[in-house]
Amino acid sequence: MPKTLFDKIWERHLVADDLIYIDLHMVHEVTSPQAFEGLRLAGRKVRRPDKTLATADHNVPTDGTPVAARIKDALSRKQVETLEENCAEFGVPVFSLGSDRQGIVHVVGPEQGMTQPGMTMVCGDSHTATHGAFGSLAFGIGTSEVEHVLATQCLVQRKPKSMRINFVGELPFGVTAKDMILGAIGQMGVDGAVGHVVEFAGPAIERLSMEGRMTICNMTIEGGGRAGMIAPDQTTFDYVQGKPAAPTGAAWDAAVEEWKQLYTDEGATFDREITVDVEQLTPRVTWGTTPDMVVGVDGTVPTPESFDDPAERGQAERALEYMGLQGGERIEDISIERVFLGSCTNGRLADLQAAADVIRGRKVADGVYAMVVPGSVQVKIAAEELGLDKVFTDAGFDWRGAGCSMCLGMNPDVLQPGERCASTSNRNFQGRQGKGGRTHLVSPQMAAAAAIAGHFVDVRTFEPAGEPVAA
């Protein structure tokens, strides 16, 4: 019987009924302390420290604070130090503040080569779906499940339903992976994939870089899907090869042979399929407080009256009020005060390069504070070797240390009430980037162009005043 990619990985990991084996458990400081405490109280140990990897990301300052002991906020310091202590006690490798490997858990896994095709992966973080870009099955889990996986290396899980999102057509110039996923979420709604594992497919997906594929899978949860995945191909193998944890020699050849079997068979069926026509996409900008409240940069903010359903109309009214918008204004007329370039969605080297190409030789608009936060220390080092830090700082961007930063309003990087931000992150929820902050989700290119223009601008035709200076 023909099988989906998801079926194949699921079956290979079944230990017992509704019990799957986990090949890699990524851990961070916010959702793990209570899990380690649970182990301690029950006298249990971490079953497979070699299949566990921890990093500090959500709660670390990005101002160059060199070690956990120097974190100014007492509760944040305690949380990062607790991660270090727990990892030392239970024998789990940890990349904490001050390590050259520290960074966002979903950036660190792939760049260390720990994320590989065909694996099952979990992390106490909903953006774990990112790793599905490699053709692995990756779920976000809660803290009780973190404790469960630490103790047993397994997860109790009834098999979710399957869904395929087919991207058809040729991706137009200036339209990115971020626009593809925002377009898909706009089409299916924020609960469109609830209960499903989503496979992303189609020629536009196959042509994407691994960074682009990670951006797409990362935001699966924003459509309600717990896991998103893309069948591995040569692009995937080329990315993994040579990474620190990648197999070498005969093991590499054996691995690639195995990974080449990871695709959805001809004739396999999904519980649900939708099609997204990428040729209809323009660069996307969210206008409201859920990621499906999204339009093209060439469009206008919808008015509440344009929604027929009373519940949707009420939601739009609340969102517009929170966002300080009326409805009817052109997206390009919306001014911004802040720009955030980073996160597990768009904080990789390719994202920073794409943004740097837009701003090279230009200046951030007056009244705009723009920050770049590399997704990991390794991304930061690589970017600095390419001179990207200079491109950003010359333009007036703040070049920061690695972490989740202003994606989630937990560490010192936050929006002030009423501040409006062009953000490359994944959630525009109320208060997500700081209480009262107003978030518009965009691609790195669109965020960079907005920083220069001081308002949203169509990056496809962006020609700011003044000649770009050659780098």
Partner: protein, 202 residues
């Protein structure tokens, strides 16, 4: 986790869709390393809205579609539970949130919208987990729940203890994988990291 059988009492109502986990508890209140004490931060920012009128202190919360969307933070069910809620009756629930609720003894229930509205309008309800019913204003509404989850909640069982009953199967699986040509990556064999703390930080 305490066993759940009957949940009975007043109903609080939050009649809107897509209430995400950042509304339930903003991230800045997740810095505690303990499992308790999150109740005071429940709906911390959301409740400042002028039209907010959700009573806290009742055992049952009714709400719309896609409740608990967004983050995997178990702090959201912890905060609801700590504030006294024992059951959430929604039109639909986000996957990770619903799963997290069952781990902390907070009963997640999905009913059609008109039934959720009827329960909210009644103002009082009685939930019988064993019978899988919500009774309000004399009407009984049946809800579905995974049988294993139901068994675990009715008996207040520890998930980890149950899985460790399969210890032999886990070990056999691990031995099979270890013997293959390509057993998968190991975090313990990553090359040593370099500390940045001795070098100047920009």
């Amino acid at each position: 986790m305490d066993p759940i059988s009957i949940i009975e009492g007043r109903v609080s109502d939050l009649p809107r869709d897509d209430v995400d986990t950042d509304q339930i508890i903003p991230a800045r209140f997740m810095k505690r390393v303990e499992r308790t004490g999150f109740g005071e931060f429940l709906f911390h920012d959301a409740k400042e809205a002028p039209d907010w009128n959700v009573e806290v202190g009742n055992p049952i919360l009714t709400t719309g579609a896609n409740f608990g969307s967004g983050s995997s933070r178990e702090h959201a069910p912890w905060a609801l539970e700590d504030a006294g809620f024992r059951a959430i009756i929604a039109v639909s629930l986000a996957d990770i949130f619903a799963s997290n609720c069952t781990k902390v003894g907070l009963l997640p229930i999905v009913l059609p919208e008109e039934q959720v509205r009827a329960v909210a309008a009644a103002g009082d309800a009685r939930i019988d987990l064993d019978a899988q019913t919500v009774t309000a204003a004399g009407e009984a509404y049946r809800f579905e729940i995974d049988p294993d989850t139901k068994h675990r909640l009715l008996n207040g069982l520890d998930d980890i203890g149950l899985t460790l009953n399969d210890e032999a199967a886990i070990t056999a699986y691990e031995e099979r994988r270890a013997a293959s040509t390509f057993p998968g990556p190991s975090s313990l064999s990553l090359p040593p990291e370099t500390s940045l703390s001795t070098t100047p930080v920009a």
